[in-house]
Each structure stands twice: as C-alpha cells, then as structure tokens.
Symmetry: C2
C-alpha cells in the first residue's frame, strides 16, 4: 500500500507481491489478454525459445486530438499488474480449455511457474509530457512472459494517456483560473471507463469529480449539487413541513424559512433594478431550492434551468440565497445546464450584481456560476470568444469518452531478442519500428524549454550538457540538426528492476503526479501547445542509431526479381 503510494480502499486482491497492491480493477488479471498471446507463448515454449531475452518498446505513433503532445498516464496500474502477475489454477485451467487439446501439458506447468521477477521495466515517469515514437515503457525479459504482458499493458496505458491528455487540453482552453469538474461517469465507456476517467482527468489537471467511487479510491475531491429530477419532484412550497432553520451562528432560529424566501422573492419582483425581468416563478422549483437549502444551508448550489433560467431559476435561487444570507449563510452559486451559456451567465451576473447594489449584500455579485451541458474544447473556446461570466465548468461526455478521438494507438513492438536488434517493416514508413534496446533523453535549450527528444543505442555515451550532438529524424535523411543542450534529462527510469539489482523508482501519490503533469505542461514552448496548427516537437535518433536502422531495414526487406 505504502509502496504504491495511493489511498486505496478498493476491492481486495487475492494476490500481492513485494508490497505493491494489485490493479485498482480486480478484473485486470493475466487473462485480460488476447488469445494469441497464449498461442504465441505456447509456440515459443514448444520451440524451446520461451526464455530468450527480448526487449519490447511500448509507444504511440501520433499525438491525439490533432495536437502535438500527449500526457503519459497509466504507469502505476501497469506496475501494480506486473508486481502481481501470477496465474491462478482456475485461470490456467481456462487457458488449457481454450488452446487446442494437442498442446503439451508441460506448458501449463510452465505457466504455473511464471511471474515478472525476471522482467525489467524502464518507463517515463507518469504525468510526463511525451511524444510519438519515444518508448513510454521498455519491457525486457523472457520472450514468452513479456509477450503475455502486451495486451494488458497497452490497454492500461492507451485510455489513461488519452483521457489525461484530453483533460490537459480542456484545461489549456479553460484557463488556469477556472474550476474544472469531471462529470462524466454516466456517459463513460463502462464502469471503470468512468473510474479511469476520473483518475486520469484529475491527473491531467481537473480539480474534482462527481464520481464518489473515484473519490474513495484515489482521494480526488468530490463535487455535486442536484439534478432536474430533484426540482421536478416537488409540487409546491406547501409540501415542505419542516420549515425552521437555525442561523449560521446558532444564535437564533427562523421558524418559517419558506416564508422568508417568499418575502425575498416578492422584494426581488418589485425591486427597482430587477423589476420586469420575471413575473411568477415556478413554485415547484422554489420548493425544491428551499428544501435543498434547508438540507444544506452552508452548501447551497442550485440548478436553475429546469423551467426557465432568467424568469424562474435565477430569481428563485436569489430569493433562497438572500434568505440564507439573512441567517448568516453564504450560498455557493448556480449551475446552468442548457441554452446559451455565455449569454445566460452574463445576464445572471448582472442580476447578482444588481442585488448586491440594491440590497447591499456584500460579494453577492461574485456568486459562483457553474456551467455544464455537452462542453468540449470547441465550446469552451467559443465561450471565451463570446465573453462569459462562468467560474466553473462541469464536463462530462466529451471529456471522458474522448469524443474528438476515442482511441490512442499505443503499440508494443519487439526491438531486440538475444541481443539481436529487430525491426518491423511496413509499406507505411510511420509504422516501421525503431530497433534496438535504447536510451532516451530530453534535451533542453537555453530558454529552459525542451528542444528535442533523442533515442540512442543502449551503450552509446549519453548526450552531455554543453556538447554538440547531431539529432536525426529516424526515417527522413534530410532532417537533422545539431543541438547543444543546456540540460539533459534521461527519460526512461527503472520502475521494475526484476533481477537487475537496480533501484526501483517509487510510485508517487496521484496528487504529486498531477503537479508534475501541470509543471511539465507549463514547461513546454507555447507553440507546441496551441490548439490550432501547433508546431511538432522534434523526436530524433542519434547518428549511430540512424545508420543502424537503415542497415537493418535494407537487410530485412525482400528483394524482388525482375524477369
């Protein structure tokens, strides 16, 4: 528990190893896998090849959402999975039932014995800003075991990184001063689509979630108010039977809070500044607001669009808020969930300010306005352009399902086996893999921005501060540049040492990963981060690695015969 550094009161795990909890979702087991990983493992085993030492790189080929950056997330869940990777007898029996009956029984004894103690994992730290082609994880170990890790690791990284990136992009458009709330659980792709979204949106820079389970599992701040159903469940203020409310300091009791609210509503209706904006407000809505305020006098936040925002919801809210104010309570604010959010927020702000002015209620003009309703990067951007008075955004569907691009193409490619570099060719150059067990560095320029990421062979000397190094595009021979780094950061760190004796990097708590992510995003040169036509960040290989890639490519590609 302490090792994983996470507030986890989650589902109990049968399997535990080296003090690292299992995955948050107990369904993440070695069977969460494609069948072909097992058929391949069998073929490796049958051919006596299963213990050959292989190196696989996990990486993606293109940044999502038309952008030029990605936030790396999901690592902790991968390490939790690795740390607890063992087959149960039940699982082995199912694998046996799923493979052809001709498979030798010895294979299942082999499965019975494997774990990840001979696997070594280097990875970029979770929350880092990352780029295409650079390995996010380098997984080394017996080929059959590492093959069995492919699907779970890719699954755990793909959506995590995608949705964290989506959250970071929403934060970028909304601006640092706004409160961003993740409200996506009901529209997420399944139960832990929801839980994963809450976790990784927080990591990517959101402030809170509505998802109680995620709050419990990860310690993410929770937010929530009430829904339209609550409002329409009331018929009239008459049905409120318990109407008394103590003042904030408990010094006195208002025996009929509902009448106090009604009195304020009447004052607003006939007020100088607000007269004529509204007539009769909806009384079931008023009843709902009053009832909610009686339940949460210190936390009154009302959804104001069930009937009509300016002619009912906002006046009703203000009447309740002013009644609360009489008793020493400060209402939290309103939520808008439909219609023209920019216009409504500005009109509501004016309404609040008029009340502050006419009735002398300090700060009433600054009462919080939250907006929700199918928000995404585009609508946030449009709201900014129109001008609005919204303080907080509740974002659901588009955020958590990554509506603009619902998948990231993370892949897992063999780059070396038995110390022999391997390459995967393709007619599409962007799909050719970069062979060799590699090291990766981020080189920073004199202004403090990262300039370029570079991959080198494992045994090449590392780039040095102040020393000129040639950075080459891996596939385009004309693209190359000399760089004299002011700072050199090695990207891949050892998160699972296996038998190597290396020190294992700690898995920090989610709050620290979130801070790291926000810092990383701030560190980037702004033109890489902009929403429209961002500049691609450069990803390169050393001159030596470049030469080797192209030697191997020629070597492996078949030569046709003209006849």
């Amino acid at each position: 528990m302490a090792a994983a550094g996470v507030v986890a009161n989650g589902p109990k795990e049968e399997k535990q190893a080296v003090g690292i909890d299992g995955p948050t979702n107990p369904m993440v087991t070695p069977l969460l896998n494609d069948l072909y990983q097992f058929t391949m493992a069998y073929a490796y085993w049958k051919g006596g090849k299963h213990n050959e030492r292989a190196v696989f790189d996990l990486y993606f080929r293109r940044n999502p959402f038309g952008g030029e950056y990605t936030v790396f997330a999901g690592l902790e869940e991968c390490i939790r999975f690795i740390a607890n990777f063992r087959f149960t007898e039940d699982e082995i029996a199912f694998v046996q039932a799923s493979l052809p009956p001709s498979c030798e029984i010895g294979f299942y004894d082999y499965l019975r014995g494997i774990d990840c103690s001979d696997v070594e994992i280097h990875a970029i730290s979770e929350g880092f800003v990352v780029f295409p082609k650079i390995p996010l994880m380098r997984v080394e170990g017996p080929v059959a075991v590492v093959q069995l890790l492919e699907t779970p690791l890719v699954n755990l990284i793909n959506y995590a990184s995608l949705v964290a990136t989506n959250a970071a992009r929403h934060r970028f458009v909304a601006g640092k001063s706004k409160l961003l709330l993740e409200f996506g659980l009901r529209r997420a792709q399944g139960p832990d689509g929801g839980i994963g979204a809450s976790k990784y949106c927080y990591m990517g820079g959101f402030d809170a979630t509505s998802n109680v389970a995620a709050g419990k599992l990860f310690g993410i701040p929770l937010r929530g108010t009430h829904s339209h159903a609550f409002v329409s469940s009331f018929m009239s203020p008459d049905e409120i039977t318990e109407k008394s409310l103590k003042s904030s300091d408990s010094s006195n009791i208002c025996e009929d809070f509902v009448s106090l609210v009604q009195a304020w509503l009447s004052k607003l209706k006939w007020s100088q500044l607000l007269g004529g904006i509204f007539g009769e407000t909806n009384q079931s809505e008023l009843a709902a607001f009053a009832s909610y305020a009686l339940a949460f006098p210190k936390n009154f936040l009302a959804l104001v669009d069930t009937y009509d925002v300016m002619r009912s919801g906002v006046p009703n809210f203000c009447a309740v808020a002013l009644a609360l104010n009489d008793l020493g309570y400060k209402a939290l604010g309103i939520r808008l969930d439909s219609g023209d959010l920019a216009y409504q927020s500005c009109e509501t702000r004016k309404f609040f300010q008029a009340i502050e002015k006419e009735f002398g209620v300090a700060d009433f003009g600054r009462t919080n306005i939250t907006a929700s309703n199918d928000l995404n990067e585009e609508t946030l951007d449009a709201l900014n352009k129109q001008g609005h008075e919204i303080d907080a955004f509740g974002i659901g569907t588009h955020l958590v399902t990554c509506y603009a691009q619902p998948a990231l193409g993370v892949v897992f490619k063999l780059v070396e086996i038995n110390n022999q570099p391997r390459i995967k060719l393709s007619e599409d150059v962007s799909k050719v893999s970069i062979p060799c067990k590699k090291r990766c560095y981020r080189l920073y320029g004199k202004e403090g921005y990262p300039l370029v990421d570079i991959m080198t062979g494992e045994n090449e000397p590392s780039p040095k501060v102040g020393e000129r190094i040639l950075c080459r595009h891996p596939f385009n021979e004309s693209k190359r540049a000399y760089v004299v780094p002011k700072r050199v950061e090695e990207l891949l760190k050892c998160f699972w040492p296996g038998r190597s004796g290396k020190e294992r990097e700690e898995l920090p708590p989610i709050k620290l990963i979130r801070e790291r992510c926000i810092n990383q995003l701030n560190l980037m040169r702004p033109d890489h981060m902009r929403r429209l036509n961002p500049t691609p960040y450069k990803v390169s290989v050393s001159a030596k690695l470049y030469d080797f890639i192209h030697f191997l490519w020629l070597n492996e590609a078949p030569v046709g015969e003209l006849q």
Copy 2:
C-alpha cells in the same frame, strides 16, 4: 448463478441476494455514483420526502451512428446491481466523510437500511431493437433510493447499448456469411471497456473475441493467431531445433519438417503458375511460420504482412501449409493486417487457387483469409464495393471505442411522483420529457414488420389486434396516423418485481440474447436499417397521453410579463 443464467467464473462478490450474482465488475457498487445523488438523497430524507413513490424512465433521445435503430444491452448487469444493492459500513463511512459535517447522523442509519426490495423495474428485453424516447427501463420506488440508482444504471446501459449497436451495424455491412472477430481489447477505454466490448459485440452479432477474460466470463468463443513480434522474434530456420512432426493420423513421423517446408518453397518458386511472383522470401518469417506450425499443426494460421505479403508472407505460408498437407493437416489460413486488403486478398486467393490447380491440393483455393487493420463500417463498405476475397474480419479500435460516436445519450428522468405526473421542460423540444407512468407497445403490420411504437398512460386500455388506434407524435400536433395492428407486443416487462408480487422475467444466457438480437434485426423493415439515409421508425403516444403532455407543459411553463 442459475438465475442470472450466465457462465460466470468471475471475481467473487461479497454481497448476494435472491440468488442473482453481483455485477461482473466488482467495482460496480452503490458508490459508483455521482455525489449529487447522495446530496439529493440527503435532502429528500431531511425533508421527509425520501419514501415518496417516484417513477423514472431511462431512455435515449437519438439513435447513434447516424442510424435509425439501437440495440438495447446492459440490462442483466443492471438487475445484478439492483439485486445486490446494499451499502457496506466502509461505503457509508466514506459517504459521511464526503457530505457536509452538518448532515444529520440519522441519514447514515437510513442508508444502512436501504436496498431495492421496494423498487420495481420494468424493462424492454435485452437484445431488442429500440428507439428514441421509448423507456428502456421504468424504475419505480422510494424517490431517494431510485435517485441513487440513476448513475450506475445509466452507466451500465449507455456503453453496452452503444457498442452492441455498433457491432450490429458492422455485421449489417459485412454480411451474414462473414466471420466477425472482435479484436479490440488493447484499444478499449480501460479494462472493462474491453470486457464490456467483447460481451456486447458478441450480443450484437459478432462471432468471437480475442479477449480471454471475456471468453471465461461469458463463454464467448475465442480466436487468435500470432503477432508481428512472433515473426520478428525469429532470425532463421536454423534456430529451430526440434524439427520432427508426426502425421495427422500418427502413422508416421516427418523427421525434418523444416526441410520439407524449404522443399515446398522451392517448388513454389519454380512453379509454372507462380514463378516470378516472388524470389527470396524472408527467412526469419519462414522460421516463425514453421515453428508456429510445429506447435499448432491442426490450427496453423499465419500473419503474412510482417515483411511483404505477396513476395514473402503468402509464399512462406503456402510452403508451410503444403508441408502440413503432406502430413495430413489442413492449414487454417492467413491474416492480412496492412495495405490494400481488397487487392491483397484477391491476389492471395489467386495464389491459393493456382496451388490447388498445379499441385492438386483439394480445397486449397478456399483457404481462409482473415483481414484486420483499422476496419470500420466505411472500410467494410469500401471493400464490398471493390470486391474482395476475405472470409473473416478482425475489428478492433473502431468497433470497441465506437469511434464514429463514442457516447450514447441515455438519460433518467422523473415522470411521476406520488401519482402526480411530472415533466421536464426545455427550450429544446427534443429534451422535453414525456410525463406519466407509461406502458409501451410495438405494433406490427400485416407484412410482419414493426410499424410503430406507442406509449400510453399506465391505465389506458392496451391497443388491440385488428382495432384502429391513433398514434400521435408526442410533440408535433400535425404528425399522427391511424394504425390497425396485426400484432401487439407489450415492450416493458417486469425484471425486478420488488414487493409487487409480479413474476420476475428470467435473465437468459448471452447466447439466447444474441439470437434474439439477430432475430429482431432481421425483423425490421429494411429501409430503417440501411446505412445511408435510413427511414426513421415511428415513435408515438396515444391521443390521451398527447393531450395530457400538452396540458402539463402549459401548466408548468412560466408566463412572462410584458411591461
């Protein structure tokens, strides 16, 4: 277990009630909820309103993917959730820590005591074809309890129905004769995004999945072969040490299968019909294929695009397949995973047919061709138009993430409380809810097609076969039609009777739901189902319900004051 009718060897559940297993994913608990469900429950409780009898409808407003139909899925998981709905002490403690400290302690005793024994759920059967506005589920019970069900139920239905619909649409384009394989686990939105995808794609008409966990949980057939990594893990045939292979009938042993393969490759290279198509094939690929065949002589299926499909992969496959054939084995086929699938499949077919002809190997021309690589409805449609020779499609990313539309807008709206119908208004007419506790019917015409779905008030007489009934558009007064149904099907059935004493509908096994779904899709009039510009299926209300909706609407909408 028997009641739920599912092969579930899944994670164990602490809580069980009335013989129905808990949700497949043990993370589906009453805390998988939006915080506001708890604040509302508290406000209902504080106001003494929590036991008021409420009716909520769960429905969606628009069919996904630009289509005119949706497959309803996720019901069994909802009923499993309902049947086991109880708070643990740990969960109650967390809710208490999450609500304001001013909340009265009695509320937590209340939470401690609640379950769904007083909740009644009617639903459309899982696997049915469904349409907008018609309640998929009608949930009735104490308002505070039902409020707490909203988020989990919506979450469990949303993605399930979306991805089942997506699968059905892919099946529609691929045609009934093709084998459809779901290969999406690694790109799914999180671990049970993957498991849910496998379950509901099978339900929507796919034949198998690569996802082993889903195979174990739901009894879905599994498929898989090998990846590019397997191919590139080999260097040359020399590394194969165990080269002997028994014949299919065990009557003799081939001591050097690899040499037999090499001999066939040479024959193919110099054959009359195939000469010149290829020269030297990639030897590491040949080694991988031979090794895989030695492991799975009865199940040999090879991925042929690691280096070059026609100049290496297909000839290498055929050499191995012909060697297997000599020993009485029949190779399963190849998989294409890149490039021009239509062209490659046709060229491969010709290659297979030439072998059948030249070497007299019966049926070799019909060897299976599987294609994968970012397939979706559009690419399947394009393949059909180009002409292809593909027998099976492996579909991943686009299918499981519902790339074309990654969310379905399922909502949960209060329609009645204390026998009082309630309506939720909106400036957007499509968002106005249809009030009243309702019954829903599907009316069939004389040609056997469903003609229209109709909602009536709970106590209206049901439509009768042969009797003329007026079906009205719920919001457009000019749209109405008389229908004389040849068959009347009541859509909402009782899946959770609560204390009503009604009989509970059984939850059938997934294979039966899949058959039901396929039958339902076949039953629809073709113009509703076509991919481009399908005809909307009609959804209506009775004349009486129409009048009532509009009476209530006028009653609730605020009236402005002109001054």
